[in-house]
């Protein structure tokens, strides 16, 4: 019994998104354009307006050229899973809940990553390298969070 737990894949079932009504964010002037775009269901990433380098999370200065001029291009909304964990408890309530935090590489924004949940498949079927596309989750105080579904 114990050995089957260790060596067989665990059948977790559907990967769920965490409920939006338990998710808060805060913003500052450097990060707010990202979240304002998300409200309009537009996936963006912080790009240096001078040298074109992408950086996430958004910071006040470009680490390559030190410019403080930001641009917020609209990205395709697709991404590739870079790594992930499979979690089985809702972090707010401690109740059983299957969700998969993923780190994704954003298409159209080389070097920029986003941390999110992935859905659209069973948790045990999530793979590194899997193509995903953005879905939008309403969260507290009128904000919207980018999550991803298996493409």
């Amino acid at each position: 019994m114990a050995h089957t737990i260790a060596h067989g894949p665990i059948a977790y079932g559907p990967a769920l998104l965490l409920p939006g009504d338990q998710i808060d964010i805060t913003t500052n002037p450097d990060t707010e354009p990202f979240w304002q775009a998300a409200r309009e269901h537009r996936l963006t990433a912080c790009q240096c307006a001078d040298c074109g380098h992408f950086r996430m999370p958004p910071t006040p200065r470009c680490p390559e050229c030190s410019s403080n001029r930001q641009e917020w291009p609209t990205l395709p909304g697709t991404a590739t899973v870079f790594s992930f964990a499979i979690c089985n408890k809702n972090p707010a309530t401690g109740e059983p809940y299957i969700y998969v935090p993923v780190v994704v590489d954003l298409d159209g924004a080389p070097g920029a990553r986003l941390n999110a949940n992935v859905t659209g498949c069973d948790a045990e079927d999530v793979r590194i390298g899997m193509k995903v596309s953005v879905v939008w989750t309403a969260i507290n105080e009128g904000w919207v969070l980018p999550n991803f579904t298996k493409a």
Partner: protein, 405 residues
């Protein structure tokens, strides 16, 4: 080039409280436990607590997760007449052994005569690590991490471990071997929290908390305090024990690691690493030594995969070969010979954070000191050099090489 401060200072006193399972130290206060550790370290060194005139903290002088050390409060409580050095390394537990370098800088600058480095930890119900982060509205930076449900350190470390498994074929068998190999070192340690021998069956049945990591891949949650006293070599000669000489000490890291799992932006190969490559290179350059020259390695083990990744970053094996190195038994301590197994170097002869106690890295320094003194419970035969590492976490990470006198 050899480090300018090589062999100029030594750790001369170590002291600790009992180790308590999370929350069980109450109604003792965290300050009382910190004082006990400092007093025990002074007694071990053979100095008066009133001789301490320097404080070299890490983790931003945090005491655990919610409390803060303050030098003036220590003076008020323990009666030190004056202080002439009071500083901390930034960020978290990664700076633990690096704080001995901070103390060395103070001592060599003749700012003070004896520095104390300490940590105390107490998790009352309102101050549990995962809970602390999970219930706070994230700041603007963490608003790019926490909404994904990455709220506890185990979630974060799991993501790094997964990438290592993907790139190098690393297995959960290796994580289990790390826990079992270091558990084998606690059966004879009265203060250790987990002393029962660990079988593969028990490891395999351990609940999966953040796949691929099980509960037993997570370190203990311990209450307690540990303090160490560092001084110059000339003063060390008058102390009670053989000095544990500070041979090399470095803290820092590189931008590609940066905020690490608080950020998740690390490019390969840094993502699936311990973030120690830069600091490892520094201590090896400072000392002219390499991993093979170490007699024992006290490797920060908040999560088992991070031991494997540090073995790679410090060059005990090549990058990507940690799985095979560990599974060949090379981190085990052989009590019969007092040496390693299969050509390896014993790791965490005290049982580490996974099995003995977790005081944010300090227990590794204590074990390093006892090993080079020759007084360790699981003594490595003729131990001359001990490596002590801190982190892996947001920079700085750090490491220390202690040398026997």
């Amino acid at each position: 080039m050899a480090w300018a401060n090589q062999d100029k200072t030594a750790i001369v006193g170590v002291g600790a409280t009992d180790y308590f399972v999370r929350g069980k130290s109450w109604p003792r206060t965290i300050n009382d436990m910190a004082c006990e550790a400092v007093l025990n370290a002074c007694a071990d060194a053979g100095i008066s607590v009133k001789d301490i005139d320097g404080f070299a903290y890490y983790s931003g002088a945090s005491a655990g997760y919610v409390d803060k050390f303050d030098s003036a409060s220590f003076m008020e409580t323990l009666g030190m007449p004056h202080v002439s050095f009071s500083a901390a390394l930034t960020s978290g537990g990664g700076g633990c052994p690096g704080a001995i370098g901070l103390g060395t800088a103070a001592l060599m600058n003749e700012d003070c005569k004896y520095t104390v480095t300490l940590m105390a930890l107490q998790q009352v119900p309102t101050a549990r690590l995962g809970t602390v982060f999970g219930k706070m509205a994230p700041n603007p930076e963490n608003s790019f991490l926490q909404p994904a449900g990455l709220v506890g350190p185990g979630h974060l470390m799991s993501v790094l471990a997964r990438r290592h498994m993907h790139l190098y074929g690393t297995t959960q068998d290796a994580f289990g071997e790390i826990v079992m190999a270091t558990r084998a070192n606690t059966h004879n340690r009265p203060k250790a929290i987990r002393r029962e021998p660990l079988t593969r069956e028990v490891y395999d049945a351990s609940v999966m908390l953040a796949d691929p990591l099980r509960r037993l891949d997570f370190c203990l949650e311990t209450d307690g305090a540990v303090a160490v006293i560092t001084t110059t070599m000339d003063r060390a000669k008058d102390c009670r024990h053989k000095p544990a000489i500070v041979h090399a000490c470095a803290h820092g890291g590189q931008r590609e690691w940066g905020r690490a799992f608080s950020w998740m932006g690390m490019p390969d190969p840094h993502f699936a690493s311990s973030g120690h490559q830069f600091t490892a290179n520094r201590v090896w350059q400072q000392s002219g030594l390499a991993a093979k020259d170490m007699d024992v390695a006290l490797i920060y083990d908040h999560f088992s995969p991070m031991v494997l990744m540090q073995l790679e970053d410090y060059g005990f094996c090549e990058k990507g070969e940690g799985n095979d190195y560990v599974l060949a038994g090379k981190i085990r301590y052989d009590a019969a010979t007092g040496k390693g197994v299969n050509g390896g170097i014993p790791v965490n002869t005290h049982g580490g954070n996974l099995n003995e106690a977790y005081i944010i890295g300090m227990t590794h320094i204590v074990e390093g000191v006892e090993q080079v003194r020759g007084t360790a419970i699981n003594q490595v035969k003729d131990a001359e050099f001990a490596l002590v590492s801190g982190g892996p976490a947001q920079l700085p990470v750090s490491s220390l090489i202690l040398r026997s006198a």
